[in-house]
């Protein structure tokens, strides 16, 4: 295995170590800014790598990818706005903790979870790439359709106060997703003659608006100059304490890592969905599901371990088949092609040293994440805590505006951000959370494409309905959907049966063991 040995030597070369650290650091900063996604971070960096040799370029871009997905957790925790869509589920428990003064604790949990999840993902990338990539290719339109339906069942989990309102939010998200060009026929829908709506509603401006603006407005309405909006409480030995709690639940970390890798591998699904699915599973398996959404460390662990595992997961089909598992991976594919590398068998034979160096550099990137993430996280939480609302609110809004604009250099996106922000604010007052709406928006396009393409394929094969119910992976996904949708009822019944013997002995929220 000289290629592997050579790759190991290359990866510990000071220049590569420096580039990984630089990539991770820059990625964290970009990922933490609302609106600046991992995709954008990598796309912006690619031109700077033109002059570099391929190993340096890949090491830098890989580090940036890891850093950016992790960095999204900072803004999710500190200002209730996912820095990248992958961190949506992190907001559920992270921001609640931050408001109680435990922002740094939440960041430490997110960091450890990201490192462990990331390493699980790289393990699969290193050892199981080819078979996993082949399996991912079995995902056709019907499977994508069922995957999105399964994804929608998460709504029941993320809206515990009112499932009906959660589902309505999801439907509104799906409906907003239909604005613009229809996937197959190309008809322009619901644009009302407005140019700005013809291309549809972009996810990132919608995400910023729905999550960020209501938070800013609430921050302003309830401001109190004596007290910071997100207070910072310093505690000694935070890392050791948090790690002691987290290592009690290895299953939570491993399961979330596996879910993240699995969903990352499926082309098109990506880390955005991985965090949510993993969060859903953590709630479902937990003995105390009611503690989620109220500052439960397990919720942050599930979301962050999973979205960082999705980074390496999305590279599995990319390196083996040339099919990116997620949008940032698509930009990485562009960088690879620019360097004259074609994904596929060649990468593992002729260019094996380069490929393995890249994979090993992802291990380094995840390890670097720990000290760098903790350091930057502590700094970020102190800075946010130190800002009075009169400075924090305009600053967050400014970042929202610039983030919404920069995604497509389009002023219409800023208007969309503002309009959906108002919808989000009014919705919040009426008991509708932004999570389900955004989930509907993310899944809508994929769901419609799966539905319509399956019908077309089915019609051609003479079985327009049967195509949804006859393929093996579809059947598994249908089973999962039924299980996930029916679980809240089962758990309610079990809870009622167990109510008389009310014994709560654990002090920490659980989630480690399988039910």
């Amino acid at each position: 295995m000289p290629a592997v040995l050579l790759a190991l030597l290359q990866v510990i070369h000071p220049i590569n170590l420096f580039l990984v650290t630089l990539g991770v650091g820059a990625g964290i900063v970009v990922g933490a800014l609302p609106g600046l996604t991992a995709t954008m971070a990598i796309a912006l960096l690619v031109p700077f790598t033109f002059g570099m040799n391929v190993v340096h370029a890949l090491v830098l871009l890989g580090g940036m990818y890891c850093g950016a997905i992790y960095g999204g957790s900072y803004s999710a925790i500190l200002i209730n706005t996912p820095g990248t869509p992958a961190a949506i589920a992190t907001t559920f428990d992270g921001f609640t903790l931050a408001k109680k003064g435990h922002a740094y604790r939440a960041i430490v949990v997110a960091t450890i979870a990201s490192v462990v999840g990331g390493l699980i993902g790289v393990f699969f990338l290193l050892f199981l790439s080819p078979p996993l990539a082949r399996a991912s290719l079995r995902f056709g339109p019907p499977e994508f359709f069922w995957l999105t339906v399964f994804g929608l069942t998460i709504i029941a989990t993320i809206s515990p106060k009112s499932t009906v309102k959660g589902l309505i939010g999801g439907a509104v998200g799906l409906l907003i997703g239909t604005i613009g060009i229809a996937p197959i026929e190309g008809t322009i829908r619901f644009s009302f003659g407005t140019l700005a709506l013809q291309n549809g509603i972009s996810l990132i401006p919608a995400l910023i608006g729905l999550f960020c603006l209501p938070e800013i407005l609430d921050m302003i309405a309830s401001r109190n100059e004596e007290r910071s909006a997100v207070p910072y409480r310093s505690q000694r030995h935070m890392l050791r304490r948090v790690w002691r709690l987290m290592r009690r639940k290895p299953w939570l970390l491993i399961r979330s890592g596996l879910i993240g890798t699995g969903i990352g591998i499926i082309p098109g699904a990506g880390a955005n969905i991985a965090g949510m699915v993993s969060y859903n599973e953590a709630v479902r398996v937990s003995n105390e599901p009611e503690k989620f959404g109220k500052g439960n460390l397990d919720g942050i662990t599930a979301s962050e371990a999973s979205n960082n595992a999705g980074v390496a997961g999305s590279l599995v089909p990319l390196l083996t088949l040339g099919i990116p598992g997620a949008p940032p991976a698509a930009v990485l594919l562009g960088a690879l092609l620019l360097k004259g590398f074609r994904p596929g068998a060649e990468l593992f034979t002729v260019h094996a040293t380069v490929t393995y160096t890249f994979m090993f550099s992802l291990i380094v990137a995840n390890l670097v994440l720990l000290p760098l993430g903790l350091m930057l996280g502590k700094g970020a939480s102190k800075v946010v805590a130190g800002l009075p609302v009169s400075l924090l609110a305009p600053l967050v809004f400014f970042l929202s505006v610039i983030g919404a604009f920069a995604i497509q250099n389009n002023i219409a996106d800023v208007y969309v951000m503002l309009a959906l922000g108002l919808v989000g604010y009014i919705g919040r007052k009426l008991g509708f959370q932004p999570g389900p709406i955004v989930l509907g928006l993310i899944l809508g396009v994929m769901c419609e494409q799966g539905l319509v393409q399956s019908i077309l394929i089915g019609r051609a094969a003479g079985m327009p309905v049967a195509i949804f119910f006859t393929r093996p992976i579809s059947l598994v996904l249908i089973g999962l959907t039924l299980f996930s949708a029916g679980w809240p009822m089962v758990s309610r019944m079990r809870r009622r049966a167990a109510e008389p013997s009310h014994d709560s002995d654990s002090t920490m929220p659980s989630g480690g063991s399988h039910a």
Binding site: K161, V164, A171, A182, E185, I220, L391, F397, G431
Partner: protein, 160 residues
Amino acid sequence: MRNDRLTALVLIAVSIFSLLESNRYGPLSRLFPRVVAVALGVLSLVLLVQSIVRARPGYRQKSVGLPSASGAEPAETGSSGDMRGMLFSLLVMVAWTLLLEPVGFWAASVLAFSTLVLILRTPGKTVVWKNILGGAILVTMFVLVFRIALRVPLPEGLLW
């Protein structure tokens, strides 16, 4: 609850409108919006019925469900705090986005940022000028990074 009833009626109207509007599209383009619109309509009806049932006296004793879901109205419903300051700030934010193109990204941002600092100040406590200056420096820094390093063509307008 009254708000829920009103919301449900608005959403039912949205669903009916979407159904009617989607009639104009081709068969493959209208399928999905229709399914979603029907789902939205049905769910809104459920919300309507739920809110009427829950408004009846004596409902709470009968309520079932998860501990957190047992007929609880969202805690956020009540309006609280400085609503006037919030509305003023919202107006500034709307003006901010509308001025980006005609006035320029940098100028509109510095102007709106400073106005917000002024609106949100606590008299006697906030050092206004320090915050305005700090805000202007931050805005300028970000605009420079986006314009020069990241080559994002932020609108220049009249005043940059």
